[in-house]
Symmetry: C2
Subunit: 301 residues, 2 copies
């Protein structure tokens, strides 16, 4: 499986040095992205690429910058979600949230800078591919553009951001959301970026449409299982284990899979989803050990 | 000159319909971008393209989506600048600011969605170019990717967002900024996007490096002159003329070109910059009437 340390190093290198730029912005960008995290989306993207291609040069010029970009997008979404007007969280990954550490305005601007940076990374990678590998460029530019479109569509108003809108606006204090609403919310807020990770990796490696579509399905199942797992951990784990405030869903009066289904049924559902994603994985080509290990690690709880 | 109404229609069409998507997000995106405005950046981008190319098909597939994208970027930056943690403004273009109208959380998310949408527009345009005009695609993809990189670099941490960081963090209430700081701030906050507009248009039309560089210079001069003009209007115009709170710089205890240089010297400086940009324009090819008219309209005050 893609080494977590390799991804950390890739991210460290791709982000601007803390001393560069204006005020504390570069430092805050690094603080927000490099402060730990499982790098699930980056790993999924790279491993999805590897199911369809063993061309490590192409991987370096395409899947790696996309992996960094998706971590920047994930990072910005956390920074903005934590803001006082949103979830108003003080801790993340065992440390102060970005706005708590750098101030409210900087929280907004750091998130903006990270989202923008994801686009800088991808367009710069496109230019470098053209300059350094003109033969690859002609063959792969179409996939490159397609993957970029998929990534930003999934991250945008009809994907992740749409989910955050529903989360903030749709679930008022008075209103109890039902199971269907919760599923839609999770589909958008969590699954869309998981789906993007798996689809982008496959598209960049030149996978055909049916394989990309199957990976999209797996991404959606993973997103759902991951969100249920998150809700379970919010009630069963400690602050030390989680690195953030526990019981924050309850505090924010948020409906979760646990509050709606109960703890046991939530855990059971993770098991079912785990089975479904494993059986879908079987249809795909390549060495699937990395994904099997990832599923086991995340969803055998 | 590019018709303002044409650009309005282009923007209306490119943004999601108000009824689409989640909650009031699409409506708020439209509210934030379509509420008037001079569309300077879109006009500059398209007119810059036309200096170097009269291929209206290529313009449609490249300069038009870029023009919409840059207006989305400009729009998001205004929405986030107006937030309570930033300038805390209540009015913009004669109407309530986005967060005043749709709430604080929606202000943040609408800005995010617009920035993200700019990349959706560009990547979708890249895909459409490839699908509908494969011959153009092979010839122009390099310029397309280069222009996208320039746009997001200028909009990002080392461009516009960096300027906003300096504006929020660098100019505390206690500290009086000097002329050099003010120039840097304007260079980043305003000029970078003007520069991007002119450079992107030229790059998309296949202009050579020296022409692109000259347009970058003109963009910087225009940005500076435009900011000085804005500072002048902030003290001389009425709410009705301006469509936003007047005297807001003074209210926020912000140093401006007027507070540092005085009103007369500020106006004089606009005149000097106007002369400089006109003499640079002369070196460029093509029909420059549109730019001459634009300079006259904006800077003959």
């Amino acid at each position: 499986m893609t080494d977590l340390q390799t991804i950390e190093e890739m991210l460290e290198k791709c982000l601007p040095a803390a001393s560069e730029g204006y005020g504390l912005l570069s430092e805050a960008m690094r603080y927000s992205v490099l402060g730990g995290g499982k790098r699930l989306r980056a790993i999924m993207l790279i491993e999805s690429f590897r199911l369809f291609s063993d061309d490590r040069e192409l991987e370096k010029y395409t899947a790696h910058p996309f992996a960094c970009a998706i971590e920047c997008i994930h990072g910005y979404s956390l920074v903005h979600d934590d803001l006082p007007a949103m979830d108003n969280d003080e801790f993340r990954r065992g440390a102060l949230t970005t706005h708590k550490r750098y101030g409210h305005a900087m929280g907004i601007l750091t998130g903006d800078a990270l989202l923008n940076y994801s686009m800088e990374l991808i367009t710069r990678a496109g230019e470098e591919l053209e300059k350094n590998k003109p033969d690859y460029y002609m063959d792969n530019m179409r996939n490159f553009m397609h993957a970029a479109r998929v990534l930003f569509t999934n991250a945008g108003a009809f994907g992740m951001i749409g989910g955050q809108v529903l989360d903030v606006e749709g679930f008022g204090d008075e209103r109890v959301p039902d199971r269907e609403m919760l599923a839609t919310l999770c589909e958008l807020k969590t699954s869309k970026l998981f789906e993007a990770a798996l689809c982008c990796g496959a598209i960049l490696a030149g996978a055909d449409e049916s394989a990309v579509s199957l990976l999209g399905d797996i991404g959606r199942l993973m997103g759902l299982a991951f969100q249920i797992r998150d809700d379970v951990l919010d009630v069963t784990a400690s602050f030390e284990e989680l690195g953030k405030d526990i019981g924050s869903d309850e505090k924010n009066n948020k409906a979760t899979f646990v509050s709606l289904f109960g703890l046991d049924a939530a855990k059971e559902r993770i098991g079912e989803l785990y089975g479904e994603m494993k059986s879908k994985l079987e249809v795909l080509p390549g060495d699937k050990t990395a994904f099997e290990n990832l599923f086991d690690k995340l969803f055998m709880i």
